[in-house]
């Protein structure tokens, strides 16, 4: 697959949480395990305790969300949403996440493969007590498989593989 050389992004925030519904915890660095997930996160395969864990999905080991989408939700709907509120693990800037489905890309020293777009869920409106479901449609981030693990830190570059 042709590599698109025109983008270079950066990790702006990292979050994990132990179980469904619990607040996301901001991290300076997270540990990715190839084929499994993020150490301490609810969707780590084998110890899954996420909202969707009754439905195993190997392509949901790590999730990403564009910080630009938060800017747009504020612009289009006047709704403030912070990086710990979208409930994805990695907040990015400068990465066209929706273009990456089916492609591989580098997250710091790690290698990911995007499996599908994330879909918002109504239950986030109950958690946040804000009508964010519609605003998140088509810009709700990306689900990925971890091909090569390692440590990811805030400030790490994100680029095509």
């Amino acid at each position: 697959m042709a590599v698109d050389p025109t983008w270079l992004g950066v990790v702006t925030h990292l979050h994990i949480t132990a179980r469904a519904f619990l607040p996301m915890r901001s991290m300076a660095a997270i540990e990715l395990v190839a084929g499994k997930g993020i150490v301490g996160d609810r969707y780590m395969l084998g110890i899954e305790q996420g909202f969707y864990s009754e439905k195993p999905e190997p392509g949901r080991q790590i999730t990403l969300f564009e910080e630009e989408a938060l800017d747009c939700i504020r612009r289009d709907y006047g709704i403030e949403m912070t990086p710990e509120e979208h409930r994805r693990n990695v907040t990015t800037r400068g990465v066209p996440l929706n273009h990456l489905v089916g492609r591989q890309f580098r997250l710091g020293e790690c290698l990911l493969e995007a499996t599908r777009l994330s879909v918002p869920c109504r239950h986030i409106e109950a958690i946040l007590e804000r009508p964010v479901f519609d605003p998140m449609i088509h810009r709700s981030g990306l689900n990925c498989r971890i091909l090569r693990g390692g440590t990811v830190r805030v400030g790490d570059p994100i680029r095509p593989a």
Binding site: A18, R19, A20, P23, R25, P120, C121, R122
Partner: protein, 312 residues
């Protein structure tokens, strides 16, 4: 996981017939925030779901504290929490919901509580102490105080006034409430008779200045076109009468039918079901017009006619 997974970390007696439980994440992770006056649903064995006000300080983010009064004539929820629930046991808890919030524009809050009805005011008072808000609580109780240790500082500070109805005649609520005034809000949580008396006493108050706590879930957004209809499952021949605005996915689950679902908002496509007779009222945003002629997303759909027959 459909609920917050908590573990009972402490349980103690906290007044006449009252058991207090402290629920925490198994690893002590912070729990979802709650607003003063909020409650949670506890999911108990046998499908029992019971609502309890959170009576701890909302600033303490690692625990939900509830106080359960034993209801001798109840349906088993309080008996279970008194007699069987023990520290270390797991309990599924809903997200906190606040149907009894502090009025944000109030300059003074007057609370009326009956017995165990004091619980939502305990979280409110903790928040008001921190923010410097003005309040007064009149607690009507019969004999022993509910949650005496949580009330002690407020009583000593003069902001909780106790009315022991075993020792003195029941006070008139109108006298306790005083007159309506700009910025003064009145609140009541207690037995049904007390709520009725409170509503009578505040009938002349400005609209929106008197608040009562009912333990009912927040209503769904009303659909003016919704009508009751009969749900029919063609393969099993089962039927169910559904009230106007009923959620079809929940109704199917209630009939023991396993239906895939994910977003439960009509966009992900997980709960697609074939329909045979209807027509359904489609409220999804995933099916094409030609697909809608045969299929329906049951998480959001209703029915335009008296019968909805699904190919299940």
């Amino acid at each position: 996981m459909r609920h917050i997974h908590t573990v009972i970390r402490a349980a103690d007696a906290a007044g006449a017939g009252i058991r207090r439980l402290v629920l925490m994440d198994p690893d002590g992770w912070p729990l979802p925030k709650f607003r003063p006056g909020a409650h949670v649903d506890l999911h108990l064995p046998g499908g029992l779901v019971r609502s309890y006000s959170l009576c701890g300080d909302p600033a303490q983010q690692d625990r939900y504290t509830i106080a359960v009064k034993r209801e001798a004539a109840g349906r088993g929820g309080s008996a279970f929490l008194h007699d069987q629930a023990a520290p270390g046991d797991a309990i599924g808890v809903s997200l906190p919901r606040c149907t009894f919030p502090l009025a944000p524009d109030a300059v003074e809050h007057v609370f009326i509580a009956g017995g165990i009805g004091v619980t939502p005011f305990l979280s409110m008072m903790a928040a008001l102490e921190r923010s410097g808000g003005r309040y007064r609580l009149h607690l009507l109780h019969r004999g022993a105080l509910p949650l005496p240790d949580m009330l002690a500082a407020h009583v000593a500070g003069g902001r909780v006034i106790l009315h022991d109805t075993a020792a003195a005649p029941r006070p008139e609520l109108a006298a306790l409430l005083g007159s309506p005034a700009p910025g003064r809000h009145a609140y009541c949580c207690g037995p049904a008779g007390m709520i009725a008396a409170f509503e009578a006493a505040t009938a002349g108050w400005p609209a929106g200045a008197a608040h009562v706590e009912h333990f009912v879930p927040p209503p769904l957004p009303p659909d003016p076109s919704a009508q009751p209809f009969t749900l029919v499952l063609a393969k099993s021949g089962r039927e169910a009468a559904l009230p106007a605005g009923a959620n079809l996915l929940a109704a199917l689950r209630g009939l023991g039918i396993e239906v895939e679902s994910s977003c439960e908002g009509g966009i992900c496509g997980a709960c697609r079901v074939r329909w045979l007779e209807g027509p359904p009222l489609h409220r999804d945003r995933v099916l094409q017009p030609q697909e809608r002629e045969r299929e329906v997303m049951v998480c959001v759909a209703g029915c335009a006619g008296p019968r909805l027959v699904l190919d299940l």
